[in-house]
């Protein structure tokens, strides 16, 4: 098998989208192209742990085959690391599970294996999650209410890069913000494997405006297609856009 690349969107937001497309539909749609959409909802200090307004956070992740967590700003670092890690493990487990079903027969799960064999399967999964390549698209909601949380977001992303850097597999990330005055989303940092560059991105975050989560998600996710095309067509024109993706939307 060719070493696979795990693709994740990491959406960081603090509330409901209030404009444009339904982000749950968008999430479901883009997940079909082989990526998972993970969402972290950031609470205000005076919010309870399960505010109604943040239900959307869970719905977007579920539709996108990803993981969601709703946390206070101070817990962001640990949460980001955990969500990224768990989402990757989930993808790998899903893959290994599928392969095992083919071997064991339909309806049989890993339970059917004795603990010793399961231990070996576990070992394989751990190897895969350490060595597979990763692409993470970070999409940060910078609407006005996020202002007070941006410092925590910065620290957490910085911390996340330390974890991604430590893996054996290659990793690449890109950072988008939404909204901006002119566009739905704006790329702040193009695909890179240099974890240190995340720190330089943050002064660029301008906070303010409405929250068009759905549209932002759709636009940002195109970044994966562009970068894949680039890999295939090395040296070709930079602005290659996957046309099939456009037409299906």
């Amino acid at each position: 098998m060719e070493k696979g690349t795990i693709k994740q969107v990491l959406l960081i937001t603090d509330g409901c989208s209030n404009q444009g497309e339904d982000p749950v539909d968008v999430s479901r749609h883009i997940a079909k192209s082989g990526l998972s959409v993970n969402v972290i909802g950031v609470l205000d200090d005076d919010q309870t742990e399960d505010p109604l307004g943040l239900q959307e956070v869970n719905d977007i992740a579920e539709a996108g085959g990803g993981i969601s967590r709703i946390v206070y700003a101070e817990d962001l670092s640990e949460t980001m690391q955990m969500v990224t890690q768990q989402a990757m493990t989930q993808t790998i487990q899903g893959f290994v599970h599928q392969e095992l079903q083919q071997i064991l027969g339909d309806g049989q799960s890993e339970d059917a294996l004795p603990p010793e064999t399961r231990g070996e399967v576990q070992e394989v999964m751990e190897d895969l999650s350490e060595t597979c390549d990763m692409q993470v698209l970070v999409l940060v909601d910078t609407s006005a209410s996020m202002q007070t949380k941006m410092h925590a977001v910065k620290e957490a992303l910085d911390d996340l890069m330390i974890s991604l850097d430590a893996r054996e597999g290659e990793f690449e990330y890109t950072v988008y913000q939404y909204p901006t005055r002119k566009d739905v989303v704006k790329m702040l940092l193009d695909w890179t494997n240099d974890g240190k560059r995340i720190a330089k991105v943050f002064p660029k975050f301008a906070v303010g405006g409405i929250t068009p989560t759905g549209a932002a998600l759709r636009e940002a996710a195109k970044s994966f297609h562009v970068s894949n095309q680039e890999n295939v067509m090395r040296g070709a024109a930079y602005d290659v856009v996957d046309s099939s993706y456009r037409s299906s939307s």
């Binding site: 098998m1 993981i67 670092s77 640990e78 768990q86 989402a87 493990t89 989930q90 487990q93 290994v96 392969e99 095992l100 071997i103 890993e110 339970d111 004795p114 603990p115 010793e116 399961r118 231990g119 070996e120 399967v121 576990q122 070992e123 394989v124 999964m125 751990e126 190897d127 350490e130 911390d159 330390i162 974890s163 850097d165 430590a166 893996r167 054996e168």
Partner: protein, 306 residues
Amino acid sequence: MSSIHPTVRLAKGITVTGLWHKRRYQVERLLGEGARGSTYLVKASNKRLAMKVSRDPTVISAEANILKKLQQAQGVSLGPSLVDVDDGYMNREKHSFYVMEYVQGKPMTSLVSRMQVMDYGKLMSQLLADLHVLHKRGYVFGDLKLDNMIFDSAWKRIRLVDVGGVTPIGRGIREYTSVYDRGYWRMGSRKADVAYDLFALGVCFAKVDSSLTMQRQGDHRSLPRLIARSKRLKPFHSVIHKAVSGQYRDALAMKRDIDRVVLPARQSTSVSSRFQSQSYVNVDKRDVMTLGSMVAINAWFVYWLM
């Protein structure tokens, strides 16, 4: 799958029977609960053992795997010894579990504030000898913290429990706790190397002084500066500083520095050399054998699955 809570509640007195190996365990009480599962004190043919249960079977497989590997270093107790891995019905649901040696003693978290700093130094010195063996085998402990240290009063030494963070050298640390983590303090990577454990041990040292606020915020962003403030830790300032700034090549180098502080010179050398010779002989042969079979199994599996 991600949102499942790992806790499985077991009432005192119930019996869990292994579905594969048919061994029976009677639950006595809860020993501890964490983000990855719960540990119970159980009885099996009048022996007291510890049983870890989780709703997430991969946690059980992963930790049992680690315990199996640690086991191969006979003569040195790197972690609790593994007794059994199985599935069983608990409250009519099937869960995976493993059973290990019950390490009796008090957690270091509860002892550290009352302990003489020199006595603490001696315990750390002993722990470093054990860690050195683990490192020689190609692993780091990873999630090294006071909560994972039990003071075994019978043997007057520290035992490490909860092996969820044990990581092969060169890989990303599997599990860590912020305050003890080199990455959190921005003093290095999260890649498993010997210095990662020694960094965490440096923080464990700093924990002896409860007046230190071990949080990276405001003016307290520099760990070395934070530690330098502690009067209580004065005899160990240089050791801790070297540990958190990655200046030790291996655990024995750190141990030697601690020994210079806590022990008269002659005694110290004899203790450390005894530890070394004892452990090396045991380790080498076994390493070759088990590594060989692991690689073979892995290669076969990857081929089969892909």
